[in-house]
């Protein structure tokens, strides 16, 4: 960056040919480090960066549809507050002026929080989620709320009660889900970073479909206070970014104990950025044989290349067994639907949300409200969960699944005696076409095979871009994601390894 710099936002992409004599900085193509650098050197203001993003959202989002609510006023007010602090000579907060998007299942005070559900179409949150409050305190600028599957139930964002989101890399395809809007917004440069939620893969899978990075910390690492509950023993909030460093910056701010969530762990949060450039060192990376059986080569080829790249960086690849992997999807869908059926009992048309008209008495009001307010996937999951918890089936389904959950967690404990990290594909296939799988819920559930095991065991996981599908598998060439799973509270190792991979890879997509 030099003196005499001028900024263009939407123009700059076209002028990269170099005809312009000014140095062009695209304010919508920044990392968090770059935002801090520009603000610190006063080469751009937070308002300019926010406006550049709001402008790009206006231009691009009518096609992609990643946002449900664009919070222009709030964003500009937050950005102005950042600029005032800079003008007053105060130090920069860790995320000062960083434009972020927030999945619409996370409460934002004074902003509509719909969970992409008709049930909560008009709901305005009376308080901030802890992660949102921490982002705000760290100087982040909230561009808006992003689309997702209704109540975070789905793997494609097609279950949104409002509209599907398109994959910015290939508009005929889904962005993945359930945090599809948060992934798409980051991939399309409609935010620098975003928050998503992950219950069985809802951050990692859309990150892989959209060619960005996404991370779920250890269960208890990030507060769930203010995350609308889907399956409480599995729900997480976590970040998306276009780089691994950006994930670390956001995780640093949102991680840590919270008196308002008793499941947050009293485990100190290390300084993630201080070790992130330490290289892949001599990590032992476990390769579970079960995760590669029958894997489509268009994904497998890239993961193999990714493994070789890690080996080159000094990692040791160790074949391991995870014998209960094939039971994970069955286990997960019993537990998550059981918890969902209980959590979603609160939508009764009394305290908030939709209430149906034309009912006869209280019970009928409940039934008509829930019939009219929930979409098909939410109803399916409530039915499944209610069935699994009902008298006569509790032992056979729910209790059995809880026991299998123990076995899946033990697979990891055993693996981590030999290796530091477990590597798998994030998804068995890349982004599929909109509408391709909507009629087959079981097929959609089975696609969660690589992500649900870490969720069940409460382990941290990250998805990093691992190239695009090869030309020989036809066009379009689609992003592939590689997943790394670590020990409890070892997010720092995942970030370090993922960063080394990203730096060395030639796998960067953005």
């Amino acid at each position: 960056m030099r003196a005499g710099l001028r900024f263009f936002d939407t123009l700059c992409r076209r002028s990269s040919a170099g005809k312009n004599r000014f140095i062009i900085v695209d304010l919508t193509n920044l990392t968090i480090d770059e935002v801090s650098g520009l603000l610190g050197e006063r080469k751009a203001s937070a308002v300019e960066i926010a406006q550049a993003h709001l402008g790009r959202i206006k231009e691009k989002d009518p096609e992609i549809r990643s946002y449900l609510t664009v919070a222009s006023e709030k964003a500009l007010a937050q950005a102005r507050a950042v600029d005032e602090k800079i003008a007053a000579g105060q130090g920069l907060a860790p995320l000062a002026g960083v434009p972020v998007a927030i999945k619409d299942v996370i409460l934002t005070r004074g902003l509509r929080t719909t969970c992409a559900a008709k049930m909560l179409e008009e709901f305005v949150a009376p308080y901030d989620a802890t992660s949102v409050q921490r982002l705000d305190a760290a100087g982040a600028v909230f561009l808006g709320k992003t689309n997702c599957d209704e109540f975070a139930m789905g793997s494609s964002t097609e279950n949104s009660g409002f509209f599907p989101t398109r994959n910015p890399r290939e508009p005929e395809r889904v962005p993945g889900g359930s945090s599809g809007g948060s992934a798409a917004a980051v991939a399309a440069h409609l935010a620098v970073a975003s928050l998503g939620s992950d219950t069985g893969g809802s951050i990692r899978q859309p990150a892989s479909f959209c060619g960005v990075t996404g991370m779920m910390g250890t269960y208890g690492r990030v507060s769930r206070y203010g995350l609308v509950a889907f399956a409480s023993s599995l729900d997480h909030i976590g970040p998306f970014g276009r780089s691994v460093r950006d994930l670390a910056h956001v995780l640093q701010v949102i991680a840590g104990p919270d008196p308002l969530d008793s499941t947050t762990a009293r485990v100190p949060v290390p300084d993630y950025l201080s070790t992130i450039e330490d290289g892949a060192g001599s990590y032992k990376v476990g390769i579970p044989e079960e995760c590669f059986k029958g894997l489509e080569p268009r994904v497998g080829d890239n993961i193999q290349k990714g493994m070789k790249a890690l080996e080159k960086l000094g990692c040791k690849l160790v074949p391991i067994r995870m014998p209960h992997t094939e039971y994970a999807v069955a286990c997960y869908y019993i537990i998550c639907t059981a918890e969902a059926s209980s959590n979603l009992a609160r939508y009764d048309g009394v305290r908030y949300g939709f209430r149906s008209a034309g009912y006869d008495g209280l019970r009928d009001m409940y039934k008509k409200t829930r019939e009219g307010g929930f979409g098909p996937e939410v109803k399916r999951r409530i039915l499944l969960g209610t069935y699994a918890l009902s008298s006569g089936y509790y032992e056979a389904y729910y209790r059995k699944a809880q026991k299998v959950r123990t076995l899946i967690a033990r697979d990891y404990l055993d693996a981590f005696k030999e290796v530091d990290v477990v590597l798998t594909p994030t998804s068995p296939f890349p982004a599929f076409k909109i509408g391709e799988m909507v009629d087959d819920p079981l097929a959609m559930y089975l696609a969660d095979i690589y992500t649900v095991t870490a969720s069940l065991a409460g382990l941290p996981g990250i998805s990093v871009p691992c190239g695009r599908t090869g030309q020989k598998y036809g066009s379009p060439s689609l992003p592939v994601g590689m997943q790394l799973i670590g020990r409890h509270f070892e997010e720092a190792s995942l970030l370090q390894l993922a960063r080394a991979f990203e730096k060395a890879g030639g796998f960067e997509l953005s």
Binding site: P376, K379, L383, L384, L407
Partner: protein
């Protein structure tokens, strides 16, 4: 068949869902295929395996409980702002107690 239409109607009743006939026609086979699939868990012998209800890790006893102190988050007006029907300081619901 793991799930009959009658089962589905019964479960819907438990869950306070009023499903239409068309919905049932779509849901019953879909739910049946999922329930048939999850039966694969029965292939595993889980005798003596502890059920896992929550993710656990080593920690001090009660380390995650906060002090039991009242704190103000928002007032009743804010609590009522999203209610579909409200009166001053309360949520309105349909009549619950039947008249004689």
């Amino acid at each position: 068949m793991a799930l009959s239409e009658k089962d589905a109607r019964y479960v819907a009743e438990l869950a306070h869902l009023e499903l239409s006939d068309e919905e049932l026609k779509i849901f019953v086979p879909q739910l049946d295929s999922v329930l048939t699939y999850v039966e694969k868990l029965n292939q595993l012998d889980t005798t003596g395996v502890e059920p896992m209800a929550q993710v656990t890790y080593p920690a001090a006893e009660n380390s995650s409980l906060r002090d039991d102190q009242a704190r103000k988050i928002f007032d009743s007006e804010q609590a009522l702002q999203n209610a579909p029907e409200q009166g001053p300081g309360y949520f309105k619901v349909p009549q619950v107690i039947e008249k004689e």
